[in-house]
């Protein structure tokens, strides 16, 4: 459901897109201001380097403005922009040959998974993980896991949208997200001080399946 504010932002965005197509300098600045934080944040979290993130965000916006005439509105503009940004960052990472965990890799490589967590005690993460630690944990993920985790759990995209953005299957997106979560959990567990390992079998309460989780949208 869209409220008035969202509609207004959407109207501003649409007008800015039309202005950009017409070559209006102010429209470019408007569109940049609407999306600069999300694009830069995504770049920064994906590459973990402010200087590289700045270059990549600039390249993403340059490509956006060069190609904006081809935007037909089949998908949300932000999805289009994110797909473009992710592709630029992934291309950059491929050129650098950094920690390779391919987005096309099937999730059957159990050697890549952390070993401890399957039978480990409850980490009781709720409210315990501060944002800085979580940022560090995300930064330590292999790029494939990191990309999917950022798009899904941070940016709020659905798996079908992610599949569209990064060019993989929905199943692959799900499995990469699962691996990312396992790794993050293992990292956070290693940070021991953040967790309260007080829960015992005696205090164990089964999960209520009526507690249906909504998607993040």
């Amino acid at each position: 459901m869209e409220n008035g504010k969202t509609l207004s932002a959407k109207a501003i965005e649409e007008e800015a897109i039309r202005g950009c197509i017409a070559g209006d300098a102010r429209a470019f600045e408007t569109l940049y201001n609407l999306h600069k934080r999300r694009v830069y944040s995504l770049c920064l979290r994906m590459v973990n380097s402010p200087a590289e993130a700045e270059d990549l965000a600039q390249e993403a916006f340059m490509q956006l403005f060069r190609k904006i005439g081809t935007f037909r509105g089949e998908s949300a503009f932000s999805t289009w922009l994110h797909r473009l940004t992710v592709n630029i960052v992934l291309m950059h990472l491929r050129k650098k040959g950094l920690d390779e965990t391919s987005l096309d890799q099937e999730p059957d490589d159990e050697d890549d998974l952390p070993k401890k967590e399957y039978g480990s005690a409850d980490l009781n993460l709720a409210g315990a993980v501060d944002r800085v630690t979580l940022e560090q944990a995300i930064a330590g993920l292999p790029k494939g896991y990191r990309t999917i985790f950022l798009l899904h759990d941070v940016e709020g995209y659905e798996h079908n949208e992610i599949a569209d953005i990064v060019g993989c299957s929905v199943g692959n997106s799900k499995s990469q997200l699962f691996k990312a979560r396992l790794k993050l959990r293992a990292y956070l567990e290693a940070k021991g001080k953040l967790f309260e390992k007080k829960q015992t079998k005696a205090s164990f309460k089964p999960v209520s399946l009526s507690n249906r989780h909504g998607s993040s949208g």
Binding site: K36, Y40, F61, G119, L123, A126, R181, R185, L188, H213
Partner: protein, 220 residues
């Protein structure tokens, strides 16, 4: 079904997939998987609250320059003051030494111009030493008041910039402070030399112009 397989399904369930009977019965009996469920739920919730990060201000300036240079956007020629144009150069860190050097070169050339023109063209003007010093002191006070008035505002403006940019501007202002100090020393050593008087006043004037550019510039 092993816990690792169950946890994969739990991850999907947290994102909205249906649970199923097998998962339901497993979660009733398996503490490890119940813990995993709680952790993933917390992790997902916490991840969704991570802050967005503002890019540095120069990103738009660089982007805009590239858009203009590639002809993607056309901008009308803006009337830009000399000093604002000069100041915009310091966005590029590598131009910092050139920026400071250009200011000093300008000051020296101005001073030498006056030196040669006045030495050749000026008849011997006689004014008392006291009167010259009084005029110089008045001019100095005038400039110092202007600098004082601008310093707080420019300092606050610089504080809003990213640290690298702020460092460059502060370095440039410090260069002018150093130059003012050198000129003051030169006046003490050569009180009768009109050249060093002009050096000093020009240094004040240029510092004020830089501060005005910082305060007024919408680029910053």
């Amino acid at each position: 079904m092993k816990c690792i397989e169950m946890q994969s399904r739990i991850s999907d369930w947290v994102d909205g997939d249906p649970a199923g009977m097998e998962l339901e019965s497993h979660l009733r009996t398996c503490q490890a998987c119940a813990s995993f469920h709680a952790d993933v739920t917390a992790l997902k919730q916490q991840a969704s609250t991570l802050d967005l990060i503002d890019p540095p201000g120069r990103l738009w300036n660089n982007l805009r320059s590239q858009l203009v240079s590639e002809g993607v956007i056309r901008v009308q020629a803006e009337k830009q003051s000399f000093w604002r144009g000069l100041l915009s150069g310091v966005w590029i860190p590598s131009l910092k030494p050139a920026f400071s050097g250009a200011i000093l070169a300008l000051l020296f050339s101005t001073a030498f111009f006056y030196y040669y023109v006045q030495r050749d063209a000026q008849p011997a003007k006689v004014s008392s030493e006291a009167q010259v010093f009084q005029e110089l002191r008045q001019a100095e006070l005038h400039y110092q008041q202007a600098i004082e008035a601008l310093s707080e505002v420019s300092r606050r403006k610089i504080e809003t910039l990213d640290p690298a940019m702020a460092q460059i501007l502060n370095d440039n202002l410090a260069t002018m402070d150093y130059y003012v100090k050198e000129c003051q020393n030169a006046v003490k050593s050569n009180p009768d030399n009109p050249l060093v008087h002009r050096y000093l006043l020009t240094a004040y004037q240029k510092k004020i112009e830089i501060m005005q550019s910082i305060v007024n510039s919408d680029v910053l």
